[in-house]
Symmetry: C2
Subunit: 208 residues, 2 copies
Amino acid sequence: MSGSLVSPATRRRVRDLATPIARGLGRLGLTPNALTVVGFLGTCVAAFAAAGQAWAVAGVLVLAFGIFDLFDGSLARATGRVSRFGAFLDSTLDRAGEAVVYIGIVAGCLAIDHPLGAVSAAAAMASAFMVSYTRAKAESLGFAPAAGMANVGLAPREVRVVIVAIGLLAAAASSLDALAGALILITVLASLTTVQRILHVRAQAKEG
Amino acid sequence: MSGSLVSPATRRRVRDLATPIARGLGRLGLTPNALTVVGFLGTCVAAFAAAGQAWAVAGVLVLAFGIFDLFDGSLARATGRVSRFGAFLDSTLDRAGEAVVYIGIVAGCLAIDHPLGAVSAAAAMASAFMVSYTRAKAESLGFAPAAGMANVGLAPREVRVVIVAIGLLAAAASSLDALAGALILITVLASLTTVQRILHVRAQAKEG
């Protein structure tokens, strides 16, 4: 099994930090699924900021709603409201949110005539989707439990969120080439992750 | 359960037509998985054609390899070599193939400065991925069998392939606005399909 850039211990520690905040949001009357939808809408605002070339705002919002995304699961676990539909909605809107951010970057790069940025954003979107798709498809066919597959892959969503946020902040601070570089990095890491997952599934198929 | 633009009867009829050709390819020594990989590589050629604004070539290749994609499954069924890994590889490379075509269109539209085409291609890619992702994720969580989910949705892959091919041929014959129109149509149909699937899963979750 291949390594990840985020260790299971780090994952657990971050989750523990999220729980009290998530409980607080729950006391405001928000359900886990409502938090999922709010997080998606916030990410759409980040996408609009990117489309309008407000790169710094987009970067901060991507990071903020990337963290916010921890709360729905934490609240569900803390209040015993974990559901299959909640898991489905969370994963689905995570994908949609990531996609709208990349589409926003495509639009923003086109508006100021930076074709490399636009193509890299499209490539990053495709490769990020492939990472999520291979996991879901493998699981739907009965390969590997969720925990196993999650550990296979250099660039899980958390890592991608941080890289794209840094890229957006770098676009604000210096040039769009830095953003394009971040997007190409995501494309490379995510494509390697997809290949890792395909090989992992093939190995499991041979064992079975 | 909602309707689809492709009836199950049409699907079966097309499959029946594909079987003898698939058997012929099998006699040449090709395995079902080899056909899957060949189909993906062919689609990559279509993507390069689109990136080079050879729209007509891209349209013909997208259609040809869209049809070619029937043969791997037909050969596997006809020769008793259906496997879980084969199903995984087929679905995964179908997604990757669709994505590279859209990335090719983004690049082609950028090269001749047609931002609407580029943004629509990125949006079509995202929405097409959402259709496939929602199905795989729903199934991985134990919702609906494959056959059930496949019937939910206006725009399955076959329909998307035909629309994008027509758009590419229209781009060659008239203007890129026609291609952008086709991509926007895919985005609308695929987004509606995604919403249909989310509602379908929610309904199932409520029953359960």
